[in-house]
Structure formats: C-alpha cells, structure tokens
Assembly symmetry: D2
Homo-oligomer: 369 residues x 4
C-alpha cells in the first residue's frame, strides 16, 4: 500500500448507501478513489462498477480484500454483517469505514473496536451529521457562546421508509426507525454536547403505519439525559409522508437556533410537468415540491469520506470513531429496553441476552400488555 | 338577569389574562360585555376599569358577585384560587369561565364540576387552542381525511417565562412550564384526536435556566399515549429566548401538516428604530423580529369568549368544558408523577396525597437520586 | 330606510365576487345583512339566495332597487357595467359599494363620484387590501417609524387566471392582469404612502401564456413614482401556477418588512388523499400544498364590508373612497399607455379617446413594432 | 509556465473581493493556488500574504507580472483600473480573471476582449451566480422542462452599501447599486435564458438613502426584455437594512420556483450573546439573525475559481466569458440611459460619448427635470 496519493477504497455494497459513497467521492475526488466494489448478487457489482467507472468488481468481498492496492474498505451492507466484515477487513490489514449503526449487538461493536485497535487500523464510523455543513455552523455558534449553556438539543429524521427491503426484516436490521435513523440523532446530540456521557434513555415507539409488512418500529420519540444536565430529543419516522426531512433545534439559556436541511434549504417549486429529481425519497416532482440542491454536500457525506481519507494519510484526527458508534449502540439498546419496560433506562445498561436491540422492545413487559 | 342582549360579564383579575379577556371582548363586542372587574390590590381594578371603560370596580370579588346584572364571571386569578372562586360564583347563580389550568388538585376540579352541575350553570374551560383559527384548519383537514389515520400530534408552546410573578411560586401555581403551558398541549392533542382517552403519560422535565428563582420546571417534554393508538408530543418552555412560540405538527399515514402561530404567521421585519409591539413576550422590536398581526384573533381568545357567551344564550353547545379541564388535570398529575418516578404512568392515575401536581416530581424517587 | 340596526344590502351579482361578499357578511353578521340579490342569468339569483339564506332574488337589478328596505347596494358585476349601475343605485337614493376597478373609463369614474356626491350617498370602493390585517400591521409599524422614510413599497398578486370568463374579453374587462390585479397594488402603495400623489407610471406587460384565448395582458410589472420620492413596484400575473399569491415588501432607510398572505401564512401540508379546500385558485389539495385558514378574514373583506356598513351608520369615516378608485383609474390608463409607448408616463395623464385602458397598450406604437 | 499541477495565481487587490478569492481557494485548494499578491497601499499586500500564506507580495502589480511562475492573474481592483490591468496582464502572456463589472466603458470592454483573443489567453469573467449551487438547481429544473416556457426571471441582490469606499465615488465605480449589483442580475437572467439577446432595458433608480455621501444610485429596479420573449426583473439596493439578501424567482407557463440564498438557506437564530459571524454585511449577531453556513460555497466563488483553473488546464470549457461581461456592460449603459430618459432603451445601444455608465442617468433629461 502506498502512503501518498489518493487513498484507494474497496466498497462493499451496491445499493443506496454504496451509491452515496461512490457519488460523494465523484464530487470530491482529490483525496480518495474507489478501485473495487463487491456485492454478492451476481451482476450488481459489475453494473455498479461500470456506472461509476470503478476498476474491479467482486461478488465475494473476501476476494476483494486480497487486493493489495486497497487501503480502506467501506461497509455499505446490512447491519447484521458489519461485525464479520470488519473482522475480515482488519485481518487483511485495511482501514474500515462502517456505515451506521455500528453493529447488531454491543458485544459485536466491542469486538470490532478491539480488533481494529490491536491491528492498528482505523475504525471509522459513518455518521455524516458530524460533517453536515449547516449543523456544523450551529455547533460553531454554540461553541462561540451564542446560546449560553445549552439545555436541549433536538434532531429529527423522517421519511416514509427505507430504500432497501432488508430494513423491514428485524433479523437483518436489528431494529426499525429508531435503529436506522435514531443512531443519527443519538450521535448528533452526543457530539453536539461535547461527548457528555448519556445518563438515561427513554423511548416511545410503535408500528403505526407499516404493521402489515414489518414488526419494526416505524415511528419513535427518544429522550436522552446527558451527564452535563442537557437533554436530547430525537424524533424518527419511517411513516412521514412527503419526502425526506432532517432538522435540528438547539436551545440554550441565552438563545436558540433552528436548522432544517430540507424544507429549510429548499427552493419551493411548483411544476405541472415534473423534473429530474427533488430530494431523497420524494414521492413526486409534480405540484409543489421542496427540491434540494447539492444534496450529498448538504448532508456532508463527501466531506466525511474526505476526512476519513485524510485520517488514513495522517493529515487529520478522526472525528467519528468506532467508540462513538458504540456509545450509540448502548443508547439503542437502552432505548428499545425503555420502550419495552415503559420507563427511563439509566446508563450504563447491559443486555447480554438480547440478540438484537429491538428484541428488548418486542419482548418487553410494557409491550406485552 | 336578562336572557337576551349581550351577556354581562364580571371579571376577576387585572393582570395579563384579564387584559386578554378585556381586549378580546373589545375586538368582538357583539355577544358579551364586561360590566364589572374585581382585583384585590387597591387601585388595580379601578385602573383596569378605567382603561377598558368598564362600569364598576371591586377589590373583593365576592362583592362583585352580588351584582345581579352579571350573568357570567371569568376567573383570571392564580390557580390556587380557582376552586374557591368557582364555588362562590356558582353559589351566586352565575356561569363560570375558568382560565387554564382548571384547578390545583383533581379533587378541586371534581368539586367545581359537581357544584356547577348541581346549580345548573355552565363551567367553561378557557382553552383557546380549541378556537385558534390556524389549528382549526388543520383539524378540519384531518377530519376530511387529509392525513388518513393520525398517529402523532405535536404541540409546543415556549417563551422565556410568565408575565406574573406568582407563577414562579409553586405554592400558588402548582407547577411550572408543564402546568402553565402543558395544559394547552394536553387539551389540544386530546381534542384533536376526538377526545380519545389518555392511556399514559411520560414527562422529562427540569429547572434548567431559572433555578435561582424557582423550584418549578422551566422546560418539559411530555409524551401521551391515547386509547386510539395515537401519540401526543408536547413541548413547553419558560426558558426559550426570542419571544413567544406556539406551533403544532400532525402526522398521519397519508400526510402531515405544520402550523406555526408565530414565525409561521409573521412578516419578518428588520428595524433600526423599533416600533410599538412585536409579539407576546418579545424582548425587543429592534433588529430582526417576527411581529404578529391581530394577535388575539390568531390565538382565538375573542372567538372563545364569544362562543362562551353564545353558550350562555343557548345558541351554541359548549366546546371546552370543565370535564376537559379535569382530563388535563389528571394528565398533569400523571406527568409530574412520571418525571418523579422516571417511568410512564398509566391512566387512570390517582394521587390523593399530593397537594399540588409538582409535588409528585419534586418529591419523586427519580428526582431525589 | 331605517337608521339603526343592521344595514340592509342589495347585492348585484352571483359569481365569485358576490360569493365573497355574502360569505364575508355571514362570518361577521352584526353590522349588515344582505336582504336581496340580483343576477340576470335566470335561476342564478334564486340559487344564490337559497344558498346564503337571502330573502329576495331578482333577475333585473333595477327591480331590486325599488326595494325600500335596501340602504346599500354592492356591485359585483363586470367592470363595463359599474358606471350605469352606480347611476341607477344613486338615483334610487342608496349607498353604493363598487368592486374594483372603479369603472372602465376615467370619465365614467368622474361621473360616478359626481352623482353620488350630488345625491349625498356614499360611493365606497371595494379595495380590501386597505383592510388586510397582516398588511395593516406593516402599515402600523411604518407609521410608528420602524423603517424610517420608506423609499420602496412592493405589492404582488398572482394566480393562473380569473374565475369568470368575462375577464378574458377585454371589451368587458377593459384590461388584463394589470387592470384586474394591478388596481389592488396601485391602491395599496398609494394608501401605504399616505396618499402621496402618483407622479409617473411605467409598465412592462405581455400576453405570455394565454395568447390563445385573450388579447389581455397576463403578466405585468408596474413601477410607480410618488410625489414624496418613494417608488412602488407592482407585480401581477394571470400566468403564475400553483394557486393564489399575494404579498408585500416595504423598504425604508431604517428597515424593511416582508408580508405574505399565502405561503407566509400557510401551514405547509402534504396529503395523499386531498382535503376540502386549500386556497383560492389552488389546482389541487393533494401532494404538498399551502392551505390558508380563515381566508376571507385574512384578505380583509369581512372587515371592509363591516366598515362600509358602519360608515353608512355614521360610526366610522370612509377609508376607501370613489376618489381612491379614480386615482387607480388614472394610473391604470397611464400604465397601459406606458406599455404602449415604451416610456414612463408622467401624471396627470389624460386619454380622452380611449374606450378602455388596454387600448392604449394594444394600439400603442411600442406594441405595433 | 508549467502545464500541469495547480494553476499558479497572482492576485491584484487586498480588500473584500481579494479576500473572497483567497478564502475560496483555501477551501478548494486542489486546482489552483495564489503564489503572489499585489496591492498599492504600502503594507497591505504583505499583511494579506501573511494572513493567507501567500509566498510573494508586491506594491506594484506590474512587478508581479514579471513573475514567470504565475499563469493566471485575478483582478480585484476598482472598476476604473480593469482595462489597463487586463492589457498589462495579457501583455505578460497570462490568463485574466476580471471581477464584475468587466470595465468602465464599452470601448474598454471591447479592447480587453480583443487583446486577450489576439494573445491567445483566457479572459474569464467573475460572475459567481453562474456557479451558485442553489441557482444551478433551478436552472437544471428549468432545462428539464419543469416550468415549461419561462416568461419571467427575477434576481435581486440587496444590502446596505459596499465594503470599500471607492464604490461611493462614481468616478472610480462608474455607477452605483445598478452597476455594482445589477451586473449580477443581468448576467444571471441572460445566462438562465440560454443567452437570448437582450432587446431592451428600462431602469427606475434613485439616491434614496445615501445622498449625503454619493451621487450614485442606491436602489434600482431594472426590467429587461429578451429576444425569446421572456422578461427579466432585477432589483438591487445599497439601502436595504438587515444584511445581505440574494434571491431569484422563475416563472414559466407550467410552474415556478423561489430560491433565496440568505433567509431561505439560513437557520433562524436568536442570541443574547452574539457569536462570530452571521453573514456578509450583517449589522449584528445579537437578537434574531439569519446566519449562513459555508457562505462562499453557497455563493459559488470556490467553484467558479476552480472552474477557471480547470479551463486554464484545458479540462473544462469557459462558462463565464469576457463576452458575457460585455453584454452586461451594454445593458448597464442602456439601463442608466433609460433612467436618464425615462423610457425603455432598445438594443443595440451605443453611447460613445459617456465616460462612465452613470453619466447617462446623471445628465439625462428625465433626471434634470
């Protein structure tokens, strides 16, 4: 492996998340490039490679890991595969990017961190909200004292359900909207508050709209208490109509701020004819819409991947770590447990018996009543 | 008492709420008029009467109750006085308007309803959100099926603390932001969802900013579960800077709507010089502001008071009742208890020992740790 | 005619404007009531009367004028009929409300004012923007000095074309979007600036979208210079998709304000199913929409009609007069002439030969090239 | 000069525009780098060079032009110097970036284009709106047919006056708000409409607020007619309070879109304390503000400069040319003439006698009356 030039990436996956990674690097191409892609479904990797001009395609990612040019591997695969893939990548001596959430279980997450540490490779956690330009500005204002002591941070991500079918199967996803989207909000609040430890978690969740196709929660409200006295309120949904919605609010003793990536960034547009693309998960481009511009840049994924590449080159210090992902995992478990028990769960919380986070809700006493 | 013409009102109070009642009736003068005002502080009632052109002023409301012309008495006094005043008014054979919240305790509320019923007078509960024009439109859309089955209703009211000092004293107010403002949100969600019974309440609250002057909660998040499967999320604050903020959001399987009475109704305005009035509790009229227009009409208080007067005349059926206020009281108690215990409280919930709602939080096991 | 009680109104018309008048008085019923309606198309008046609970219906408005109970007649008929109707109403000794624009020609307008003056009846000009609550608040801020000296006032009204077909026929309407909607903007800027005289008018107009069905202008930009040094910019369209849009902007040396009656008052709403009604001229209630609440109140028509009734009773001084309408007529003529000549037209401007305002554009030298 | 690697830039200027160029290249450093800076005021270039880590500083730009490493020179100097500097740069065999507007006179602009062409170097015109991401998305929707045939394009840029004092001196600037800001709007509309030729120009302008310090227009409305039948409306101000405002609106037979770079991108924020930076020309960071995030990226200057560097390397085709700047110059002259004459000016328009655009207004017959 070279230590200069662009960082060479191997990508696992060919669906929605993989597309975002490849498109992000196409828009910011100077620090890294994807040289190989692996996807198990025959033909998918080839098609993806062709579309994005990637040199090599594999059906078995383990074959790809033999590629000595590859320095960093990005996992854009179902949550249930994160741990094994990470171990394989680390064993091949390569750096790892894991898309959120980190893993299915806390034990898996701990092992991933341990093996990466032992091998001396970076375990980078794909939380793009830490790189979202609009949210960074709010953090910058907060750090400049604009709001005085912050007592409440809110983050919300909502849409009408995930791109890939495996999310609906709790055995592959480990959980529903809270696991899929709440991991963003937990990481965001934790980071915004200077990584103050999470003291407790409470969730209200249900399968309100998609009960016919999933056992997963499709809408969730989550309240976090932090050691510094602040509170986080996270709202997530797979049941909100009208396209993607991602926003934050920050309240402090001396001020407040409202930032919205979608309706708050958009150019309200009316079209009888429709047009190419409005925004992630938008149902139509006709009538009134809220189109986004430079969507990935506004989410921060190109900046995140560039940061990861620069970390590999030693030019920057990792801002979104496996440890961050593990903090999120603990909160996810506690959140599902709180919904299962109908009470606030104090941290630290361990649930050694649960195979996946959502079991703590599905099998909880409050749920069974 | 006449049974035709304008309904004659006696007003108890001369502060913020009393001002709203008098101003509201001045803007919609056809159904009712204030003929007397009572306030215990010497001079206050006179000054108020003079300002609003009210015929008679009293320092003792019991004197006012002897006025045979008065048909309806509006209580704009501290929460701790609601029950006794109501009993006195009812005893004088007059209809009662009680500003929110209904009372200090559930027992008080039950007694108020009972005495009014027995005397055959109306006990009208001053929840103006049931008359807020913008919110009524969202309800109308919901009832027309715009959103399909509604699974989440949100209401939020926030500002930087109440007008009158007695609110900070929990012995006079019974509670903080949750009691003062949460009563709006509870009533709103309950009404929006067709008065589906409240099944459970969970609150996260704290004294985040005003700890030096009060033991009351100054910020609260409240989650309600309703019997029909929907959820309410209520956010209240006495710690939010920048003026009043009141808004709702509604989410259903087929759509959603966002209504904001303040920033969402305003004309964004910049002024170097300032001007007369921006909005309730706005800190300044200089720089950028979000001024309101026809503030009371947009809140719905004139419409509410006109409705009450028409109910007295038998022209309309009461939409906001003492029973509604009692439902809110139960949820307030359960909410404070949930914060005190760190768990969701199932309804029905009784707390016979508590002298006021906030005691269940202040003395709760979760709080003491 | 009585001089007390509700003012009794006779309404001429049964289409869009008439509906607004009747609905407005239904929502604010204390000052006036419609006791008769006249419409020439057989059946229309009856249907309208039945719908709104109006006592009497006529096909010939002259028959209606014999009704001695009627004190005030509201003209909601094509522009080409305003002058004759006004003369007939005045001859019957009744007060007149004329919907905008005042007339087809300046001569007509002058005669209308003269006959009303001679007969001692009120000629009231239906410009509801002078009663629009949101705009009144901006005026109030301006008058309080919020913006210092105001140098630019903007008003814009746009939609995709009028309700009634007669508007497309320039012989009945006298002009297109500028005449239909520009009359609002001219009156608004004139009134906002304290009735400073209009010094010059310049218009850019065209038939951009509806050329197949009309010779009328369907989009117009109009610049007014006022004697006090301020400028008005008026934008009107019958070619703007997506529903009604009405907004103002005010700029002064010390500040500015932006007020929008539609997108700026709305609750952004998404619906898969649709619902009853979004807003005047909205194409659909499905997808994203900007529904209005209490539309007429927010436009100000109920307040305007109540004001007119109170003027008839001598309780208020007329705020929107025939003279205001005549100022608008002069500016409409000058505006069409400016577009016809490609130059700013200085006031006073007379065009004795033109049968209707739009002729000055259609036959102008700039247009013919 | 090398033909590979980063393009080496020499920068003329050390004030506001120069800062934007240097900051832009710092944020997108891969294609170009500033290796030298020249500014006549002693010390300025050194200070600037030190701040941005630029290798060499000069007081005389002609000295800098001798630097053989420099391939491209960016002119961020008063308008009156653009022509001479361009000729000197071209004579040194280097590519030229000219900040807007292109020159003081049409003759200058023509000569600049001619000398660059003859020397075979690129004359690149610094119009960043052609690279503004949000506006590009609207253009993309328009080109995808979202709006059908576009009949009206609006662009507005307003603030309370320029950064540098030389703008107020019409002998150095050549004009006021229309020249300084209108050049953006003219170029934008022209580009948005596929470079359809401008057929006519009409301007309304005045010195409404800053008359004590300048003869320049401080507010201007400009109407353009294009050969394809569409109209442009450009609004500019040096008199609008409250910080920078830049926005567009597009109207077509099938739809419309509203894009706002400032209030429409911002996170509405309230702060008692203030914070580092809100937005270009914002008066304060206290109270309510509309802070921007990644301001330069959202304006498009980094993208513009990267594009220019890539054009120098032959990787892209120049999108914003000297010829575009010359089209703008013609419209500026016509616009000032139209205000001076009170009539629409048809293109082509030549004004050989005018030393600077604003003279046509200041000395025009309409102005003198």
């Amino acid at each position: 492996m070279a230590n200069t030039g662009k960082v060479k990436i191997g990508l696992i996956g060919s669906q929605f998340q993989a597309d975002i990674h490849a498109s992000s690097l196409k828009s910011m191409p100077h620090e890294a490039e994807i040289v190989a892609v692996a996807s198990p479904t025959p033909g998918n990797a080839e098609k993806f490679a062709k579309h994005f001009g990637i040199a090599r395609a594999y059906t078995d990612y383990r074959e790809m890991l033999k590629d000595r040019e590859i320095e960093m591997v990005s996992i854009c695969a179902p949550n249930s595969l994160h741990a094994q893939m990470t171990k394989d990548i680390v064993a091949a001596g390569k750096h790892v990017i894991v898309e959120k959430p980190l893993a299915m279980t806390i034990a898996e997450g701990e092992e991933m961190i341990a093996v990466a540490k032992k091998a001396g490779v970076l375990l980078m956690y794909g939380e793009e909200l830490l790189f979202t330009p609009k949210y960074l500005k709010v953090k910058e204002m907060a750090d400049a004292g604009a709001f005085g002591k912050v007592y409440l941070v809110k983050q919300s991500e909502k849409h009408f359900g995930p791109h890939s079918d495996w999310f609906w199967d709790v055995n592959r996803s480990g959980g529903g909207a809270f696991m899929d989207l709440g991991c963003h909000g937990i990481a965001f609040c934790y980071w915004f508050l200077g990584r103050s430890p999470i003291k407790s978690v409470y969730c209200q969740m249900g399968t309100y709209v998609h009960g016919a196709k999933t056992k997963a929660d499709d809408d969730c409200l989550c309240i976090l208490e932090f050691a510094n006295g602040a509170v986080g309120l996270i709202e997530n949904s797979w049941a909100r109509r009208g396209g993607m919605d991602d926003k934050i609010e920050v309240f402090g003793e001396a001020g407040c701020s409202y930032a919205n990536l979608h309706m708050g960034n958009a150019m309200p547009t009316y079209s009888e004819n429709g047009y190419g693309y409005a925004v992630e998960k938008a149902p139509t481009t006709k009538g009134w819409t809220y189109p986004v511009f430079e969507e990935l840049w506004n989410y921060g994924t190109p900046q995140e991947l560039n940061h990861f590449a620069r970390c590999v080159r030693g030019k920057e210090t990792l801002q979104s770590t496996g440890e961050d992902g593990l903090v999120v995992m603990h909160a996810l478990y506690a959140g599902y447990a709180s919904a299962g028990e109908g009470k606030k769960i104090s941290m630290p919380f361990s649930a050694p018996q649960a195979k996946k986070p959502i079991d703590l809700w599905l099998n909880g006493p409050a749920r069974r009543t």
